[in-house]
């Protein structure tokens, strides 16, 4: 069975500071990993995805993530955050015949001025 663990339920950070949101996964098969962002009262927007190839993945809004197979991690990073990055961030793993997504419990990124 596949699963995703997001260790931090909330990450407060000051504007223009760097941030890392942690995600660890568990999977016995080929793994496809995603980060989604959800702004208040909005849907899920794909930030970036790892399907294969380079372990460093760049996404939208200046975010990037690194797939680390030995540590079973897929942490999300941004070198300098903005107030507008305040949102809930979900890590997800997909796989199996149906490619359904299994989400982590989410991390609230709270950017303070």
């Amino acid at each position: 069975a596949q699963s995703v663990t997001q260790l931090d339920s909330q990450v407060p950070v000051f504007e223009e500071a760097p941030v890392e949101l942690r995600c660890n996964y568990s999977s016995s098969v080929s793994v496809y990993l995603f980060w989604y962002v959800q702004y208040p009262n909005q849907g899920l927007q794909l930030l970036l995805k790892y399907l294969s190839g380079s372990t460093l993945v760049k996404g939208i809004n200046g975010f990037e993530a690194e797939f680390n197979k030995s540590q079973t991690s897929f942490h999300l990073r941004k070198p300098s955050v903005h107030i507008s990055d305040t949102a809930e961030y979900f890590c997800a793993v997909a796989g199996g015949a149906t490619n359904k997504l299994i989400f982590g419990t989410g991390t609230l990124l709270a950017v303070q001025p």
Binding site: L44, L51, N99, K100, I102
Partner: protein, 115 residues
């Protein structure tokens, strides 16, 4: 580009009523997924359809049913609604056929409030 369309965007129902949520996938996508996101919760997989056949089932209550029609749109039918069914319901679609990895595209969701 066309996206996943869900309707209605908001729905208010009373306990024990029924509700029908609709999802129109991206054209030529062959797979539809339904997710439920309770307040402050992560999205939970409910059910999926591939080429109009149920392909996977998650934590979907027996009071709920879903189907995918010949035009690939899908409907989630919810009966005997309970207060705990209040949630954001997402539909996603992807093109799975012949591909080992795919990306799911999400709709904006339907917010169901049961009072």
């Amino acid at each position: 580009a066309a996206g996943v369309i869900q309707s209605p965007r908001h729905l208010i129902k009373e306990k024990r009523e029924t509700a029908t949520l609709k999802c129109y996938p991206i054209p030529r996508h062959d797979t539809v997924y339904w997710y439920q996101q309770g307040p402050g919760q992560d999205p939970q997989f409910l059910i999926s359809f591939y080429e109009k056949m149920q392909s996977d089932k998650g934590s979907i209550p027996d009071r709920f049913s879903a189907q995918q029609f010949s035009d690939y749109h899908s409907e989630l039918n919810m009966s005997s609604l309970e207060l705990g069914d209040s949630a954001l319901y997402f539909c996603a679609s992807s093109l799975v056929r012949g591909r080992r990895n795919t990306e799911a595209f999400f709709g904006q969701g339907t917010r169901l409030t049961v009072v």
